[in-house]
C-alpha cells in the first residue's frame, strides 16, 4: 500500500482524468452527439450575433461615409432661398464650424462623343473632398478658383466614369452637361455599393457652373462640417437661430434628426433640359440636420436588430443548452449502474463527482471549441457572400459561458444524485 497520502490523492486525481477519457471514448456516438449539441448551440449564437453586428456596422458605416460631424441645411419651401452667400456667411458667423458648402442638385443629360446618358449633377465647392472625407482617385478636384471663375470642369463619380468611359482615362476628356461643354479633371475614389448619398454615380461640378445650368441662384442644401464631435450640437443650435432670424420663421425651423430618411423623395420641376431638384416633403420650412444624430439613430435601430438576432441566438443557445442537458442527463442516468458498481468497489461520492465533472468538461469543452470554429467559419462564409458580419468577443464569451455551465451542471448534477444513492439502488438501475 502507498504510504504517502499526497501521492495517493494525486493518483486518484490522475485516475479521474483517465476514467473520464475512458468514459468519453467508451461511447463514441454518445460523446459525438454531446459535442455536436454543444457545438451547434455555440456556433448558432456566434454566427447569428455576427450577422446582426455586421448589419449594424454596415449601416453605421454608410452614414459615416457621408462624412463625420456633418450638418445639412435644407430648404423645403420656395420662399426660403438658400444661396451661395449663405454658406460664406455661416463660415464667418458660426465659430463652431469648420467649413460650409452650398450644394446644388440637378439631373441632366450628359453627352460624351455620341453617347448620351442621364446623370445626377451636384454643384459643390472645393471643400467637397474635405467635408465628405472623400478623396480623388485620379486627376484632381477643382479649386477655389474654378468655383470663383465659374469654370466648366467636372469630377466624376467612379461609377459614372466607368459607365461613360469604360477602361479609358476620363481625365482630360470633354463632356457635355445640359448642352454645355465641361472638361473632366478628376474621378472620385469609389465608395462602394449601398453607401448613403451615392457619390459614385454623381457628377461633381463647381456650384457656380451648376447655378448656370439650373438658371437659378438657389442652392438646394448647405453642408456644414463642425469643428469636432462635441461642437456639432452647438453648431446646429447656432445655425438654426441664424435662419430663424433671417427668414423670420419662428419655431418652424427645427433641427431634426429623422428627415434624412426622406431624402429619397424628390419632386422635379423642369428648367429647360436641366431639372432642378426640390424637396416636396416636410412640414418644416427649413431643416438643420446633424448627421451624427442620424448615425446614432441608425445605430440605435440596428441595435434593436442585433438584440433581436441575439434573442434568436439566445433561443438557439437555449435549445443547444437543453440538448446538452438532455444528453448529459441521459448519459449519466444510463450509467447509474456503473456508478453503483464503482460504489460497490469502494468509490466515494467525491470520486464519482470528480470523474463526471472531468468528463463533462472534456465533452462540453470540445463542443465549445468546435462551435467557435464552426461559428467563425459560418460568419466568414456569409461575409464572403457579401453580407457584412462581425464576430464579437462578447457573443462568443456568453455562448461559451452558457454552454460550459449548462454542460457541467447537467453532467455533474445527475451524477451527484446517482452517487448519493445506496450502491444497491444504483446497481439495480441497469
Amino acid at each position: 500500500m502507498n504510504g504517502n497520502p499526497l501521492g495517493r490523492l494525486l493518483n486518484r486525481l490522475l485516475f479521474g482524468i483517465e476514467a473520464a477519457f475512458w468514459g468519453v471514448s467508451a461511447n463514441k456516438l454518445r460523446s459525438a452527439i454531446t459535442i455536436l449539441g454543444v457545438a451547434i448551440g455555440v456556433a448558432a449564437v456566434v454566427s447569428l450575433v455576427a450577422i446582426g453586428e455586421g448589419a449594424r456596422l454596415s449601416i453605421v458605416r454608410q452614414f459615416e461615409s457621408l462624412g463625420t460631424n456633418l450638418i445639412k441645411i435644407e430648404s423645403h419651401h420656395s420662399s426660403i432661398r438658400l444661396t451661395v452667400a449663405d454658406a460664406e456667411e455661416l463660415t464667418e458667423r458660426v465659430p463652431s464650424i469648420d467649413a460650409a458648402m452650398p450644394v446644388v442638385k440637378a439631373d441632366a443629360q450628359v453627352k460624351w462623343r455620341r453617347d448620351v446618358t442621364e446623370a445626377e449633377i451636384m454643384g459643390v465647392t472645393e471643400e467637397f473632398p474635405y467635408i465628405r472625407e472623400h478623396e480623388v482617385y485620379s486627376g484632381r478636384f477643382f479649386s477655389h478658383l474654378h468655383v470663383e471663375e465659374r469654370i466648366r470642369v467636372a469630377v466624376l463619380g467612379y461609377k459614372v466614369a466607368t459607365d461613360i468611359f469604360g477602361d479609358r482615362d476620363p481625365v482630360g476628356q470633354r463632356i457635355y452637361i445640359g448642352g454645355e461643354g465641361f472638361t473632366v479633371i478628376g474621378v472620385m475614389r469609389p465608395k462602394g455599393l449601398g453607401m448613403a448619398d451615392d457619390v459614385d454615380s454623381k457628377i461633381l461640378i463647381p456650384v457656380t457652373s451648376a447655378q448656370r445650368l439650373t438658371k437659378s441662384y438657389r442652392v438646394n442644401e448647405i453642408w456644414v462640417k463642425a469643428n469636432d464631435r462635441n461642437s456639432v450640437d452647438l453648431a446646429v443650435v447656432h445655425i438654426s437661430r441664424i435662419y430663424r432670424n433671417k427668414f423670420n420663421i419662428g419655431e418652424n425651423i427645427i433641427p431634426t434628426e429623422s428627415d434624412m430618411y426622406r431624402y429619397d423623395y424628390y419632386g422635379y420641376y423642369e428648367t429647360g433640359n436641366v431639372s432642378m431638384k426640390s424637396s416636396t416633403h416636410s412640414d418644416n420650412l427649413l431643416t438643420v440636420t446633424s448627421m451624427n444624430e442620424l448615425v446614432k439613430e441608425a445605430d440605435e435601430a440596428n441595435r434593436v436588430m442585433t438584440l433581436m438576432l441575439g434573442a434568436i441566438a439566445g433561443v438557439s443557445l437555449l435549445v443547444g443548452g437543453l440538448g446538452i442537458m438532455n444528453i448529459m442527463l441521459v448519459s449519466v442516468t444510463e450509467r447509474t449502474g456503473e456508478i453503483g458498481l464503482r460504489k460497490a468497489l469502494g468509490a466515494k461520492q467525491g470520486d464519482l463527482m470528480y470523474q463526471f465533472l472531468v468528463e463533462a468538461v472534456i465533452l462540453t469543452g470540445l463542443g465549445v471549441i468546435l462551435g467557435l470554429i464552426v461559428g467563425n467559419g459560418v460568419a466568414e462564409l456569409i461575409h464572403r457572400y457579401g453580407i457584412e458580419t462581425v464576430v464579437t468577443l462578447r457573443a462568443s464569451y456568453v455562448a461559451v459561458t452558457v454552454a460550459l455551465s449548462v454542460g457541467v451542471l447537467f453532467g455533474v448534477y445527475p451524477a451527484y444524485l446517482a452517487s448519493g444513492m445506496s450502491p444497491v439502488e444504483a446497481l439495480r438501475r441497469e
Binding site: N2, R8, W22, E338, K343, A344, G346, K348, V424
Partner: protein, 237 residues
C-alpha cells in the same frame, strides 16, 4: 467474530406497499467460513447479502463488523470498508464492457490511490490467480461467460479482502463452468483462508460451502453445517 447481526429488519417502500424483505435476522459469521445462503426468489437472501456487504443499510437491528457498529459509519467509511474488506461477485459479472480485463480488475485499487504501476502488477497477479494469464488485455466482450466471471472474481480478490460476497455467481453459467467457478472459490477458501458468503437458489451449488443458511420470507429457517459437502475438484476430475 467477523460479522454479527442481531434482529436485522429491512423494509422497502414500493409505491403504497411496504415490503418486509428481512424480518428479524440474527446471525454471525466467523473468519474462514464458506457460507451458502439459500432460499427461493424473493425470500430476502440477496437483501441479506447486500446488507452484509454494506451495499445497503438495515432499517432496524444491529450489524457489527469486527465489533464496530455499521450504523455509526459515515458514507466515506462505508466506501472504504467496501473497498478494503469486501470483494463482490455478481450474477451478471458487472464488468465494464469497453475496457480490458486488467483495467476492470484495477478499479478497486484506483479508489485506494495506488499508482498505475502497482495497479497493473496486482491486477495481472489476480488474473493469473484465476487462470486468465492469457486473457489479460482482452475486453469482456471477447470473453466467455465463465471467463468474465473469473475476471469479476479477480476484481473481488485484487484488494485482498477479508470476505468475498457472491450473489448467484453461477446463475448465468452452465453447470461445468459453474463448477469451475465454485472450484476457484473453494481453492481460495482453503488456500488463503478467505471467508466466502454466497447466495444461491441451487441446492447443489449451496453444498460447496461449509455452512448452509436457509431463508424463507425474510427469516432464517435453518442454519447448519454441510455434512455432504461437494468438492468441485472431484467433480471436474
Amino acid at each position: 467474530m467477523l460479522l454479527e447481526m442481531s434482529d436485522i429488519k429491512k423494509e422497502y417502500v414500493l409505491g403504497p406497499q411496504k415490503i418486509l424483505a428481512l424480518n428479524g435476522v440474527s446471525l454471525s459469521i466467523d473468519q474462514g467460513e464458506f457460507v451458502s445462503i439459500m432460499g427461493a426468489s424473493g425470500s430476502g437472501k440477496s437483501t441479506l447479502l447486500n446488507i452484509i456487504g454494506c451495499l445497503d443499510l438495515p432499517t432496524e437491528g444491529r450489524y457489527r463488523i469486527r465489533g464496530d457498529d455499521v450504523s455509526s459509519f459515515s458514507e466515506g467509511r462505508l466506501a472504504d470498508l467496501r473497498n478494503l474488506a469486501f470483494g463482490f461477485v455478481f450474477q451478471t459479472y458487472r464488468l465494464m464492457p469497453r475496457i480490458s480485463a486488467r483495467r476492470n480488475v484495477e478499479i478497486p485499487l484506483i479508489y485506494r490511490g495506488y499508482s498505475a504501476k502497482e495497479r497493473r502488477e496486482r491486477a495481472i497477479q489476480a488474473l493469473v490467480d484465476v487462470g486468465l494469464e492469457d486473457r489479460i488485455e482482452h475486453k469482456p466482450t471477447q470473453l466467455s461467460g465463465g471467463q468474465q466471471q473469473r475476471v469479476a472474481i479477480a476484481r473481488a480478490l485484487v484488494g485482498d479482502p477479508a470476505l468475498i460476497l457472491a450473489d448467484e455467481p453461477t446463475g448465468n453459467l452452465d453447470s461445468k463452468t459453474g463448477e469451475e467457478i465454485m472450484g476457484i472459490f473453494q481453492r481460495l477458501h482453503e488456500k488463503r483462508a478467505l471467508t466466502v458468503v454466497q447466495v444461491t437458489h441451487d441446492p447443489f451449488m449451496a453444498r460447496h460451502g461449509t455452512r448452509l443458511i436457509q431463508i424463507k420470507d425474510g427469516e432464517i429457517e435453518g442454519d447448519s453445517f454441510i455434512l455432504d459437502r461437494v468438492f468441485a475438484e472431484e467433480i471436474l476430475a
